[in-house]
């Protein structure tokens, strides 16, 4: 066993015993010749690994903002009532353990939970009661779980669809023979393919850098760890078109000369594992993976799947690589690109599921076709996951350049007010901006769109986001780790109704500091929405703030400050 196999080893223990015990940690540490604290550091980093015994059924209830608005609190209470245990603990019979978790990629079917990684969607208190009863009766999880498939609500008309069209295995790979690696780079740069995970880094540039690298080994990594709350578009691609994604990876391998590939699949999508493994097997059987692929001499490429273990930050490419290496998923310092120094120090291409799928379609459909779709800077289509206050949540494949208004019309949004583009680390827009176009020239979108109507509390939305970042920061750099805790304190102040105009100014200033000094994208964008919302929903916040007494200048919640003392006296001393 070597270090790179650590995550799998830990999963073995977690699955077998329900937790990773001290002795298990000692055993692994001894095998790897490292100190125990190193293994413990890894175990405690991922929230699906437990150091305390868990029940037979581990229930993870999603606490993302969409879930919160769709009844998270009631469902939470229902689970506690039915199982007889509280969140964060297990019940006395060691049958159930309850935990909250961040977005599990089922935002279109909230409230949703994972029970031993089987999905349960559209939960109601009654449904929870039935589920728990069935589990107590010993029904099998596979039998009673929900179908997590997200509905594809829309694809472009007039044969402009790129992703969700007919797919035959090997359709793009068969064209590889006629192209040199350079020709393929030209194709994908001609249609300006950029990373669809949200960073929009030019794919051709990345692949070229890996191709030109003198690295002894090269790796292709598919980032299937979409953890941005409200995003589930990669899930629909993995579910509907796993082969297309594999083809993209194989194309990347062909271009760069990589011989090994990984799919870093988030544990929340464990139910897709069989499907992807089957597709991999089919590919191997058809000589699309393995040695001398498609008869091209020395074109050898193999893919293996690595299951994540619950860490949002592992969607950041360098953190993902660290995680693959069996370490804590901490973002690396931005000194090298992964194509210069990646997995185990070798040149590595990391791309998102959608990017690989799109690359395969570009080879298959050709650049003239793709170029006619979309805008000048964003060519082709984009897969979006839409959730929130809309009648038709689900997957939308839209042509780049569609306006927000058209999109809101398509998904039948009811009095949309606050629209979150690209998840909490993206941007928010108000109703004056609904004419903006979704494309690189105007409003870029990584794949998540959450729509909130004017009955929703903006403070609640922002509090949920900040709490999310506070918990999901990797904890390495000061501004992200401490800064998000501090911002959370400010939001508490808004909630309490003792927030002044100066507090809002400070949020903006502090957000700017966090943005400037954080180590990776997580921190840099963590305060984005919060700061932006203060300006875009000025009217809302103006109502929230109070004018402090000019002389005192600071608002102080005296009642809250003496509450503890008063209640202690009341509890301990008879009147």
């Amino acid at each position: 066993m070597n270090r790179t196999g650590l995550l799998n080893k830990l999963w073995e223990f977690q699955n077998k015993f329900g937790y990773i015990s001290e002795s298990a940690i000692a055993q692994i540490a001894q095998k790897l010749n490292v100190s125990k604290i190193e293994i413990e550091g890894v175990v405690s980093f991922y929230h699906f690994f437990h150091k305390q015994p868990t029940g037979k059924y581990i229930i993870y209830l999603n606490n993302s903002i969409v879930s919160e608005f769709k009844g998270f609190q009631q469902i939470k209470a229902a689970f506690e009532k039915e199982t007889g245990c509280t969140f964060g603990c297990s019940d006395v019979n060691q049958l159930f353990s309850l935990f909250e978790t961040s977005c599990i990629g089922l935002s279109d079917q909230e409230p949703a939970a994972l029970i031993n990684f089987y999905p349960f969607t559209n939960l109601t208190p009654e449904k929870v009661k039935t589920i728990i009863q069935q589990l107590k009766n010993g029904n099998s999880l596979g039998f009673i779980s929900s179908n997590p498939t997200s509905k594809i609500q829309y694809i472009p008309a007039d044969d402009k669809t790129i992703f969700f069209r007919k797919y035959d295995m090997g359709i793009s790979l068969k064209k590889l023979k006629n192209h040199t690696p350079d020709a393929i780079l030209n194709l994908i740069s001609a249609v300006k393919l950029e990373g669809c995970g949200g960073a929009f880094f030019p794919t051709a540039k990345k692949w070229k850098s890996c191709k030109e690298s003198k690295s002894a080994k090269k790796y292709i990594i598919c980032n299937a760890d979409e953890g941005e709350p409200g995003t589930f578009k990669d899930k629909s691609l993995l579910n509907n078109l796993p082969g297309l994604m594999l083809e993209g990876m194989i194309v990347a391998a062909y271009v760069s000369g990589a011989t090994n590939g990984f799919i870093y699949l988030r544990a929340e999508y464990k139910y897709l594992l069989d499907k992807i493994e089957n597709t991999l097997r089919e590919f191997q059987e058809n000589n699309l993976l393995g040695n001398d692929i498609l008869g091209i001499p020395k074109f050898n490429f193999n893919i293996q799947i690595q299951l994540g273990a619950g860490a949002y930050v592992c969607g950041e490419e360098s953190a993902l690589i660290e995680s693959l290496e069996g370490k804590r998923g901490e973002a690396r310092i931005k000194k090298y690109f992964p194509t210069e120094y990646g997995y185990l120090g070798y040149s590595t291409i990391v791309n998102n599921v959608e990017t690989f799928a799109k690359a395969a379609r570009i080879i298959e459909l050709g650049t003239p076709f793709i170029s006619t779709i979309g805008t000048n800077e964003s060519k082709g289509t984009k897969v979006l996951s839409i959730s929130g206050d809309v009648a038709k949540p689900g997957i939308y494949e839209i042509e780049w350049g569609m306006t927000v208004k058209e999109l809101l019309h398509l998904c039948q949004a009811t009095s949309p007010y606050f629209v979150q583009i690209s998840g909490p680390s993206g941007i928010c827009i108000n109703n004056t901006e609904f004419d903006r176009k979704i494309c690189k020239e105007d409003l870029i979108c990584g794949g998540s769109i959450m729509v909130f109507n004017n009955f929703r509390s903006i403070t609640k939305i922002l509090e949920n986001y900040t709490k999310f970042f506070k918990e999901e920061s990797c904890g390495v750099c000061t501004p992200c780790r401490a800064g998000n805790q501090i911002l959370h304190e400010k939001i508490k102040k808004i909630k309490k109704g003792i927030c002044t105009a100066q507090d809002l100014e400070e949020i903006k200033e502090w957000g700017q500091i966090i943005k400037l000094t954080s180590r990776c994208g997580l921190g840099q964008f963590s305060a984005n929405t919060l700061v932006m919302a203060l300006d875009k929903f000025e009217g809302y916040f103006n109502q929230k703030i109070i004018k402090a007494n000019e002389n005192l200048n600071v608002e102080f919640d005296m009642e809250a400050a003496v509450y503890n003392y008063d209640s202690l006296i009341k509890d301990t001393q008879a009147p």
């Binding site: 550091g41 904890g475 390495v476 000061t478 200048n553 001393q573």
Partner: protein, 420 residues
């Protein structure tokens, strides 16, 4: 050796190509503060204090290796302020009680606080309960003081190459933990090394921490002028109307007042230009006049403190927090990491001296209520100035007051800063 030529804040500098920017800047006379950087290590880039701009983009300075034509910004207003802000974040995230810290005076973080001129933190203190772990054989790890810089994780290893420290958990729960088994293998020298490389007082060697006497502290410069010169005060005599000053001690120890009195006979001269109103010095209990300046020692731990403080705000044009307690709670705020209930039970119900069945938590309409936390004064009312120190030096206090009252130039130099 190849040299590179690059620009720092517009000035052309040269250094060996590939040299770490922190070192390269130092060679060119530019100081870039940092806490995690340690020249024998690979850059960690964790503390972010050294954030600079490279060709317009913000990067941690310790992760830059100088090359030709780099255009670096180091000391712009924005960067200086963010540097200060990050340090302030560290102060509020942990529980840094300098007066009770063994490393005070030898602490790199404290020194940087002085260097960047932190008088108070713009952020609210978080007061999270953290453990002090004395279980290791040779060392004590105090989580209250840890800034998670990772120096110890990278640098402290046993002879056979095992890590002794590592981060555990993530997000706001992240902390640096010790491997007891490996720690017990450390030699005395290795343990001392761990203590040395820690930029704060988080790692201490058992039995060693107090061996260095107070006063012999590497980051404390000697303050030259011991007694305030009186001439500057005298010159105001008769020229201007006497200024009125009020002072009070809230949740403090009167130490700051003692320090004020340390100007000795100077106070007689002071009386010629200022007049005290409500103050323990005059024993005037209530404001009889509107005051020019109010000096407040101590933070707010009960409702009475808040009343007094609000009264001071109303009656004083300029309000100054004097000393650590007034600025952020100080030592009384040590209780902020515990629930109030525990504190009160410990002192009134379960204490060694409390008599059985006779115990009660004091409670009467005439006595003030205890607040759930000790609050900094600026959380209650607007505070115009802060004078750090525990207590601040007498000269420091009076120089600030003088400066404000008579609009004289006075800048607080680095050696005058004290958090303990």
């Amino acid at each position: 050796m190849k040299t590179s030529s690059f620009k720092i804040d517009g000035r052309v500098c040269t250094a060996e190509k590939g040299l770490n920017l922190i070192e390269a800047a130092k060679q060119n006379g530019v100081f870039i503060p940092t806490l995690c950087h340690f020249k024998y290590l690979n850059p960690l880039g964790t503390c972010r204090v050294c954030t600079v701009k490279l060709n317009g983009k913000a990067v941690a300075g310790c992760t830059i290796h100088v090359a030709d034509d780099m255009d670096l910004e180091v000391n712009t207003t924005e960067l200086l302020d963010s540097r200060k802000a990050i340090l302030e974040m560290m102060f509020v995230e942990g529980n840094h009680f300098c007066p009770s810290c063994e490393k005070s005076g030898d602490c790199q973080m404290q020194n940087l606080g002085y260097e960047t001129g932190i008088k108070y933190t713009r952020f609210p203190h978080l007061f999270i309960d953290r453990i002090t772990d004395a279980r290791p054989k040779r060392i004590v790890v105090n989580q209250n003081r840890c800034i998670k810089c990772k120096r110890c994780i990278e640098e402290v290893k046993t002879f056979d190459g095992y890590k002794v420290f590592n981060s555990i958990n993530k997000g706001s729960e992240t902390m640096v933990s010790v491997d007891y088994e490996q720690e017990s293998k450390l030699s005395e020298l290795q343990a001392a090394h761990a203590m040395q490389i820690c930029p704060t007082g988080s790692i201490l060697v058992k039995g060693k921490s107090f061996s260095k006497p107070f006063g012999d502290r590497q980051f404390d410069a000697v303050i030259e002028e011991k007694i305030m010169s009186l001439n500057p005060v005298k010159k105001h005599r008769g020229h201007v109307k006497k200024k009125i000053v009020a002072t009070t001690s809230l949740a403090g120890c009167f130490g700051c007042h003692m320090s004020m009195l340390d100007i000795d006979l100077g106070i007689i001269d002071l009386f010629e230009v200022i007049e005290f109103n409500k103050s323990p010095i005059t024993d005037i209990k209530n404001f009889s006049k509107h005051c020019d300046i109010g000096l407040v020692e101590g933070g707010c731990c009960n409702t009475h403190n808040i009343e007094v403080l609000r009264e001071f705000r109303k009656n004083c044009d300029i309000l100054i927090s004097v000393g650590e307690c007034a600025i952020w709670g100080g030592l009384p705020a040590m209780r902020n990491t515990f629930p109030l209930e525990e504190c009160l039970k410990e002192s009134y119900l379960d204490s060694m001296t409390s008599e059985e069945n006779e115990t009660i938590i004091p409670n009467h309409e005439d006595i003030p209520k205890i607040l759930n936390n000790v609050y900094a004064n600026h959380e209650i009312v607007k505070i115009d100035h802060h004078i750090p120190g525990c207590p601040p030096d007498a000269n420091h206090i009076w120089n600030v007051v003088k400066n404000i009252l008579f609009q004289e130039e006075y800048s607080i130099a680095h050696p005058k800063y004290k958090y303990d």
